[in-house]
């Protein structure tokens, strides 16, 4: 089709072809197609299916009865055959709490670590960084089993705790909340250290000097000269830790035992041993809402800084 130059608007030359930015943009959209198919097929459609499933009911043999009701959600809120119990709500809140505490511990540990690594001479700097990453090359399940070993009664950690009277004379350090935190923090620490390190490495130290020059105390120098500059890395680290920590089931399963169930374990149970898909779907959606809720709080507190 022949178009007059005026109808084309701004013109650009692209590999010798006279065209418009709009046309180039539309042509470029085709490159998005694989990603769109991927997201539609593996995220949006299954997601919607999950929503639909959550309103169904478990049949006698683990099949799905499509009789649209809110039964699963009332179960999620704790209403069962024997009246109301706080168990599921406790599991949800505990998951939120464990994810929160894990994130806080990771940040507290990662902050000085990132500064330590970033201020090393270039040659040793990447060696230190490698030490942080190497455990990460081992499968999470294997690492978690390793923690089971390390925390078992005959290993020094448990021995020390036994001597201190923290656990019975022949007891192990797992299954326990403590063991879950050990597992979670070691699993997620690299996710906070890495983005934080990249922020610290690019830190503009002249802002620190400016703060000192302008009569700041050490505390003020930190919060005005350093902290704002590390926020982007910290934010990435927090999100990379908090979200997967909310849904983690391997670590609580192996190190927490039956008494320390997290929502991830609850979901896993529904889809495996209980074969209650509709209820599993409802719990999954509950987890998703809870995660978004947690991030929303963080975002509000971050004021003005673009977080998600």
């Amino acid at each position: 089709m022949q178009t007059t130059p005026s109808s084309l608007g701004r013109l650009v030359v692209w590999f010798g072809e006279l065209t418009t930015p709009g046309r180039l943009y539309r042509r470029g959209l085709w490159f998005l197609l694989p990603a769109v198919i991927w997201i539609l097929g593996l995220l949006v459609i299954p997601g919607l299916a999950l929503v639909a499933l959550s309103f169904a009911e478990r049949g006698q043999y683990g099949d799905v009865l499509w009789n649209w009701n809110l039964e699963n959600y009332s179960r999620l809120l704790g209403y069962g055959i024997f009246g109301w119990s706080p168990d599921t709500i406790l599991i949800l809140l505990r998951s939120l709490w464990v994810a929160f505490v894990t994130t806080v511990i990771c940040v507290v540990l990662a902050y000085p670590l990132a500064f330590f690594i970033a201020t090393q001479p270039p040659r040793t700097r990447y060696l230190w960084l490698a030490l942080v990453i190497i455990p990460f090359w081992t499968n999470l399940v294997i690492r978690t089993y390793a923690w089971q070993m390390l925390l078992s009664p005959e290993f020094p950690f448990a021995k020390v705790a036994q001597v201190l009277g923290l656990i019975p004379a022949d007891g192990a350090l797992y299954p326990s909340a403590f063991a879950v935190y050990i597992g979670m923090v070691t699993a997620f620490l690299p996710f906070v250290v890495m983005p934080l390190f990249s922020s610290v490495e690019r830190l503009d130290w002249s802002l620190v000097e400016a703060a000192q020059d302008l009569y700041s105390s050490r505390v003020r120098t930190f919060f005005q000269g350093i902290w704002p500059q590390t926020l982007p890395g910290l934010t990435v680290g927090i999100i990379l830790t908090f979200i997967p920590a909310m849904g983690m089931f391997v670590i609580p399963d192996l190190l927490g035992g039956a008494k320390y169930l997290l929502v991830g374990n609850l979901i896993q149970q529904q889809f495996y041993s209980s074969r209650d898909y509709p209820y599993g779907a409802a719990v999954s959606l509950g987890l998703m809402i809870l995660t978004l809720f947690g991030l929303a709080i963080y975002r509000r507190r971050g004021q003005g800084v673009e977080l998600v």
């Binding site: 002249s206 802002l207 000097e209 400016a210 703060a211 020059d213 302008l214 009569y215 120098t221 000269g225």
Partner: protein, 351 residues
């Protein structure tokens, strides 16, 4: 905080006493002493690596000297951390806090000192006003141009009413035209406020334009200091002559009544202390003549002539003598004429 700028007192006398600073093997400062008077615009001038920035950072308290003292108004500041010195810095990169507005950046030092809110507001308003930043008070640093950022950095330092204001190459990020403007403004501001300014720069034009006194530095020591015209007209060394403006250097042997050089004998304004050495003459002090001058004359041929608008520049043979002159009809390549090196224009350099 022990020492904080007294609000009414402006411009302190600063002494730098035999300051030595080493970085590993390298000596950045090899015993530098300076006396900077109250209300003076003092410039540390030198090529990169001469130690001028290190000295400024030592005065600011951002670096500790290995030896020597920094004394402000009779008070020894040497061991005092930066946040307790009545001194403020305008950083080369400006170092504005990116998360704070222009207003909050300017208020930063005042808030650090927990000044009363009314006083903070008064001073920030004053700072915004003298640097014409009122319109930008609510902006964030990334929404400002280079020149505006520089003014914010200046206002942020000035509202603290420091006894000495340190400026670390504050104009290096500005384009040439803006730089010339800012130089004049800076000079005017300094005179208006009567503060002591210490400027670090490698730009000799800038140093000459703004300074009351210049200290020329070279590899960790003070080469020469004085008013711009003293340093320009009477450079003591070859380095001083060549770094500050252009200079022709002539080497020769001392003879009774003058200097024996390759093309003859020159009459000097004073007898040099050395047997063999150099004298310098500025290109604009060389006179062109049609006839042989009475003394210090030299028959020359124009090797190269460059028209520079405001003046003309030429290189003459022999000696590759560089000259600057107003419009001159004879200044064509190949032209032969006489050059006069007036005795009072010749500067005997130290060996």
């Amino acid at each position: 905080m022990t020492v904080v700028a007294d609000a009414k007192q402006v411009g302190g006398t600063l002494s730098v006493e035999r300051v030595v600073k080493r970085f590993g093997e390298a000596t950045a400062l090899g015993g530098v002493s300076l006396e900077i008077k109250a209300g003076e615009f003092f410039t540390l001038l030198g090529p990169s690596g001469c130690g001028k920035t290190t000295l400024l950072r030592i005065i600011a308290g951002l670096e500790l000297p290995d030896q020597g003292r920094i004394v402000l108004l009779g008070k020894d500041l040497t061991g005092l951390p930066a946040n307790q010195r009545p001194v403020n810095t305008v950083f080369q990169s400006y170092a504005l806090f990116p998360h704070l507005s222009v207003y909050e950046n300017i208020a930063f030092g005042l808030r650090s000192r927990r000044m009363a809110p009314a006083e903070v507001e008064r001073r920030v308003k004053y700072g915004l006003e003298i640097l014409q930043l009122e319109k930008f008070a609510a902006r964030l640093p990334h929404q400002l141009s280079g020149g505006q950022k520089q003014r914010v950095a200046l206002a942020r330092a000035l509202v603290n009413e420091p006894q000495v204001l340190l400026l670390d190459e504050p104009m290096s990020a500005l384009d040439a035209k803006l730089r010339a403007e800012v130089q004049i403004q800076l000079r005017r501001l300094q005179q208006q406020l009567g503060l002591t300014f210490i400027l670090v720069t490698h730009d000799q034009d800038e140093a000459m334009a703004v300074s009351d006194r210049i200290a020329l530095m070279r590899v960790g020591h003070l080469e020469q200091s004085g008013t711009p015209d003293e340093v320009y007209e009477h450079p003591r060394t070859r380095f001083a002559a060549e770094f500050l403006g252009a200079a022709n250097l002539l080497r020769g042997k001392r003879v009774p009544g003058g200097l024996e050089v390759s093309f003859g004998r020159l009459i000097l304004p004073q007898t040099p202390a050395w047997e063999e050495g150099s004298v310098a003459i500025r290109p604009e002090r060389v006179q062109l003549r049609d006839t042989e001058p009475r003394q210090n004359g030299l028959r020359v041929r124009v090797r190269e002539a460059v028209y520079r608008g405001a003046y003309q520049e030429a290189w003459l043979e022999p000696c590759d003598l560089r000259i600057r002159t107003g419009p001159h009809p004879a200044l064509r390549v190949g032209q032969e004429l006489w050059a006069e090196l007036p005795p009072q224009a010749l500067v005997v350099l130290e060996e």
